[in-house]
Symmetry: C2
């Protein structure tokens, strides 16, 4: 079985190295940049791959929506299996790509799109063969975990740590996709789609940014509330539907996530029969993510063909889950759900009663209009 890799960036080059070392035949690599070390493997013309009947698996590691989407659709229609590390693509076109895979008798796999080197999605798929998942949650973004961990450990402020993360290459020049939660949101949507056997869209996910967190929040959370904080994606199933959201989250200091440090990820499922299962590892990087992409290809080389896809959509409603919240704001608005409150240096530190995710995100809109620097975090019991 011959393989083509689309995109010779961080992930693509890692996957090529891993696959070659273990004897898998990567016949072609698509990239528009020159890479003399690739010799004849390199092409900038996708038709060389599409029209090559020997190539049975196309591994997309370009990222972004285009030309990835066009390439992947063409590959599936040409009867080639697809693996991808591209969370944006998978989240946006989940339904279309699964439908095309089924139609054309091929498979699509994207373990490396969530959690980098962690075989998370693979194990979620394996799990639901004989279990019902009620909840998924996790640290799915290494950049934001690096920032929070450094803020807590070294008592530093957000801007300073963000700059360091950028200098280290952990954060982009424009960090919005990470710190404003879009990246985690897409990963929570994809994870929920698999775990609950449905289709969750990016627009279904309620998101609180983590960029408004300040040193004073960390102090209050650690010293007064005796908790710690992580940036978590959630998918929770209840009788009437599912809720999917991304929030800074207060955790007790002996929670497993509280010891997930630096840029590591940890993602968890709660199965009816298996109970809690957590998966921890490197959420990004050339070799971890390249390894995960290679593993998906090896599954296909070993005969994996199934595409589980249920287009009966489950209702997504973030009004179905209730939790307590922490709010820090200088805005003077008050709501009946404010259970306790402390005023320090002009900031109100509020803990709410249990309210729905949807309601809290409504309240936050009102508060943030008056004080855009306000910070919100769910409290995980």
């Amino acid at each position: 079985m011959k393989i083509a890799i689309l995109g010779y960036g961080v992930v693509g080059s890692g996957a090529l190295e891993v696959l070659t070392k273990y004897g898998y035949d990567v016949k072609r690599v698509l990239d528009i940049r020159p890479h003399p070390e690739l010799g004849d493997k390199l092409t900038s013309n996708y038709d060389d791959i599409l029209n090559d009947k020997e190539i049975e698996v196309v591994a997309e590691a370009i990222g972004g929506l285009e030309p990835s989407h066009t390439f992947v659709v063409k590959a599936l229609k040409a009867g080639k299996h697809v693996v991808s590390s591209n969370k944006h693509l998978i989240c946006e076109y989940y339904e279309e790509l699964h439908g095309l895979a089924k139609e054309n008798g091929v498979t699509i796999r994207f373990t490396s799109a969530v959690g980098g080197g962690i075989p998370w999605l693979y194990n979620v798929k394996r799990s639901i063969r004989c279990d019902e998942i009620n909840k998924i949650m996790g640290i799915m973004n290494g950049t934001t975990n690096f920032i929070l961990d450094a803020m807590i450990t070294d008592k530093r402020d957000f801007d300073e740590v963000l700059k360091e993360a950028q200098a280290l290459g952990y954060a982009e020049a424009n960090p919005s996709a990470d710190v404003d939660g879009l990246d985690t949101g897409r990963k929570a949507a994809i994870s929920s789609s698999i775990a609950f056997d449905t289709v969750v869209k990016e627009s279904d996910v309620s998101i609180f940014t983590m960029r408004t967190i300040k040193k004073c929040d960390i102090e209050y959370i650690v010293e007064k509330l005796n908790k710690t904080v992580r940036y978590l994606g959630f998918g929770i199933k209840s009788e009437k539907g599912i809720s999917v959201f991304v929030e800074p989250t207060l955790l007790s200091s002996d929670a497993l996530e509280s010891n997930v440090n630096k840029n590591f990820n940890m993602i968890t499922l709660f199965g009816e029969s298996v109970g809690r299962l957590s998966f921890y590892g490197q959420g990004a990087g050339k070799y971890p993510t390249g390894n995960a992409l290679a593993q998906d290809i090896i599954d296909i080389a070993n005969g994996a063909r199934s595409v589980r896809f249920n287009d009966k959509k489950i209702n997504v409603d973030n009004g179905l889950v209730n939790r307590k919240y922490y709010i820090r704001t200088s805005c003077d608005a008050s709501f009946s759900c404010f259970e306790s409150e402390e005023l320090i240096d002009g900031n109100r530190y509020i803990v709410t009663s249990e309210i729905s995710v949807a309601y809290m995100h409504e309240i936050a809109k009102i508060i943030s209009e008056k004080d855009p620097a306000s910070f919100y975090a769910g409290i995980e019991e």
Copy 2:
């Protein structure tokens, strides 16, 4: 594909329930006790299963060496696939059973034998398809973790917590296999056999008991050394061979294992390309372990057939790994590796320089002859 389950105890009944719920056909259950609720499924005669050509998978959940060994050997020779949750059996007959499976063109799987519901062994097998594992380590025994966690959290002594664990059903009336490390030792041996593609025997594993730990150790470890303690199994690869050992282990309080509480397990691999991957979940119990046994069967039903087994044995030598140790003893023997030492209430609290596992276990023999109540723990940096 029809299935037979051997043994209708905790794990067997859990697996039956899970498999039946998800539409898998368990045709026979072998048990010598009456179970009217099983109706015609129940048999006490193994020949009913062995001679039934419709039954393609035999799931052994009896435990112990006999009659499990005889039954499993007969199943493999009859061309039936075998899954097992029996760590004792797998550890003792690893080589024979893999050889028989290969010879007879069937597969053998035993994910549920290590880590209960955690898909640990399954993922180790998947991992080594395109990675090299350098080290495995983990909390592989829920009973001892429950005891250590309760001793630390509630500042109680070993005997008292052991009694509670026995009352709760977490510990056996004779707790030796758990607290003296045989259970973890077998799991470390099996995990190392898979991770390093070799055969590690029970007798290869160096083991320190954890039953000599006292309240005074916990106090010293937590308050003076600013660490915590867990009971860990290890397999470590170096150029000249592998080391496999089980030891109480001092960990920094922000290590992931330090937040593994109650009777949970966490097992970790370190892969050359994937980095650190950790797996956390319920290490025992009817539904978690039953679920893991069922998952192995579903893999086979879905076509999994490979038996990876390398009978070129790698040298096992516990002299190859060096680490620091903590020793608490009233014995007055001294060794040049004793780096620091404190005397409190007649007990010497010693930290050694880096010495080999093999050498430390030699020293411990000498010390324990004079003071059998001495406690030893490795220090994980």
